[in-house]
Symmetry: C2
Subunit: 354 residues, 2 copies
DNA sequence: CTGAAAGCGCTTACAG
DNA sequence: CTGAAAGCGCTTACAG
């Protein structure tokens, strides 16, 4: 649509405002303009004001690429992930992003959906953008092969640690979280606690978390001088169906229990549904807690479920700090603690004195 | 740990290999090295080979920042989102990312968790990185205020369209998807179909989608010459609890139905659970389909649920293409079609002849 | 086919 | 306090 604007020089639209435009507008040299805009001292206040005004008027954004060329750092870090679904990586990315923001850095995404070749290409792309570091979020909790060490920038492994103990890895404290879950159940009055685990098969994604969470439950019970309801946790997979079946197994074995630690929220959901179907009340008869605090399941279920939040957000923030200051971080795995999010499924009216 | 390596010059580690390093190693000028590496013609094959070898040996990655300075394009595009949870934005981002990758471009994330001021800062950060374009993924399906048009690079609005019809927006075809859902239910043999909607309150996130999906259901019914079970769809919110309650309402009204279109997967889940609790079999007595094909709910439920996948991935890819080639795209909203993902909840043995 | 020179947009010593 | 010059790493006409 033709409007009144007549001589809107086409080159104007094509080209972003540059420092020399600003300098010209303010009637100073580029050097002075640069100093003024960067708050360097030794610039006449009135000159500075003039330059700032000009920059404002022209909508000037300094070209970071040019600046990085000088500084040798790009102020961006690469976020390499192989976790397609993003279930775990997304909260981590969000954490990274927020921490970077404080340091004025920016995250460049690279989603390598699996193949080693893809990882390579993405590392290449990241490196050629001169990222100041790379955070690698692999698919699961299992240790991952480190990236080629020809990479000269700091690499931090998040969630799944590197198999190389010399690398810096930031992981979730699955085992510690198992203890938290038990403590919570005991605190709301449970006296007979069983653990329904995830997969016990090393080939399965998340196997490591399943083991550690189960271990943590046993730790927690032992610390409080209690025996688990079963001498061996039940292991299955990560699904609702398994949670349901596990409860049926418990019921069939005719053991008594009033608390269930389920290795994730979906298992917890299945367990809760099965208990309800069998006429048991949650949380009155049995309190149930899961892991991951995954909103779509734990929070939006008809019976809101208590869960151990793995603090993935914080994990991301820590990873960002680590990649920005690798020397300030210990090699090996740094564990980030989780926290209890209590909801209906453990809202026991605590049994008072026994 | 001290190893055999003695004179590993420290500056080597600090500084990435540069084109002039490569040129020196290959014994040619930078100009020639550059041409050789970029596959320009007019370079002696043996020279080219020598340069390539040197680049390989030295682990050379061309500095994109320097290249962009010349080309005037950075090969990166900004991904601005306000959808914290990432429920809808993540699949879109994945799509964008994959499409960009084909064009060798890269995505820079910027998660503005809401405030307009944050959006501003992030736009600023993106622009100073000289992104070639911005894809804005807002929180919901509602139209969003356009970014300031002082922005000189192409902006594409994804999922939630811009309120300005002159902007390029790529949205999901909620209404068309409603038709798809109905067609599917009819195809599996349903003859009495009700719609359980989302929120009817314009102030609620996703309200637009709720309306359009309901409209689509009515469209679909009309197209097949059928009346909806209720003359007005039920509206509530996006939760399981609402799905459950809606079914109770239907049952209370004593209407007959054998098919349910639920405005999202969680509503569908609640509906299915309620039907089961009331002794009705899904899908034998009632087939149920939801929207979003959200894996954690639709796919992992004990009864896997059919759903209309909004093809958010494709939406992201289209958005990426649009931002890379804005003139090739129409102003206003481009709708991306969805698709049916059939699972147990609609696995009707189709009624044969009536 | 090869290379010296200029330039992309900015910053930083170094003189004035 | 201000500005001319050199340089960050690369590419592209332009001579040779």
């Amino acid at each position: 649509m033709e409007t009144g604007v007549t001589s809107d020089s086409p080159s104007k639209a094509a080209r972003a405002t540059t420092l020399s435009d600003v300098a010209a507008a303010a009637g100073v040299s580029m050097a002075t303009a640069s100093k003024a805009l960067n708050g360097k001292r030794g610039v006449n206040p009135s000159t500075r004001a003039r330059v700032e005004q000009a920059a404002q008027d022209l909508g000037f954004y300094p070209n970071q690429q040019a600046r990085s060329l000088m500084f040798g750092r790009s102020g961006s870090i690469g976020l390499l992930t192989t976790d397609l679904e993003g279930r775990f990586s997304l909260p981590i990315l969000a954490g990274v992003e927020s921490a970077l923001r404080d340091g004025e850095a920016v995250a460049i995404m690279a989603n390598a959906s699996g193949s080693a070749e893809m990882v390579d290409r993405h590392v290449h792309a990241l490196l050629s953008r001169r990222v100041d570091g790379i955070i690698y979020v692999a698919r699961g909790t299992e240790p991952v092969l480190p990236l080629p060490d020809s990479i000269k920038v700091p690499v931090v492994y998040a969630y799944g640690p590197s198999t190389d103990a010399d690398d810096v890895s930031i992981v979730a404290d699955h085992r510690g979280c198992g203890r938290l879950a038990v403590d919570h159940l005991i605190d709301v009055g449970c006296r007979a606690i069983a653990h329904i685990g995830g997969p016990d098969d090393p080939a399965t994604i998340g196997y490591m978390a399943a083991r550690l969470r189960a271990r943590g439950t046993l730790d927690g019970l032992a610390a409080r001088g209690m025996d688990p309801v079963l001498n061996r946790p039940l292991f299955g997979d990560w699904t609702e169906a398994w949670g349901w079946e596990a409860v049926e197994q418990l019921l069939a074995r005719d053991v008594e229990f009033d608390g269930l630690v389920c290795a994730n929220d979906q298992i917890a959901r299945g367990a809760i549904d099965c208990l309800a179907a069998r006429g048991m009340r949650v949380p009155t008869d049995v309190a149930v807690i899961g892991f991951d605090n995954w909103a779509p399941v734990a929070q939006t279920a008809r019976l809101p479920q208590s869960s151990v939040d793995m603090n993935l957000d914080e994990l991301g923030r820590v990873a960002a700090r680590a990649v920005l200051d690798p020397d300030g971080f210990p090699q090996g795995s740094t564990r980030v603690a989780g926290r209890i999010v209590a909801r209906e499924s453990t809202a026991h009216a605590s049994l008072s004195t026994p």
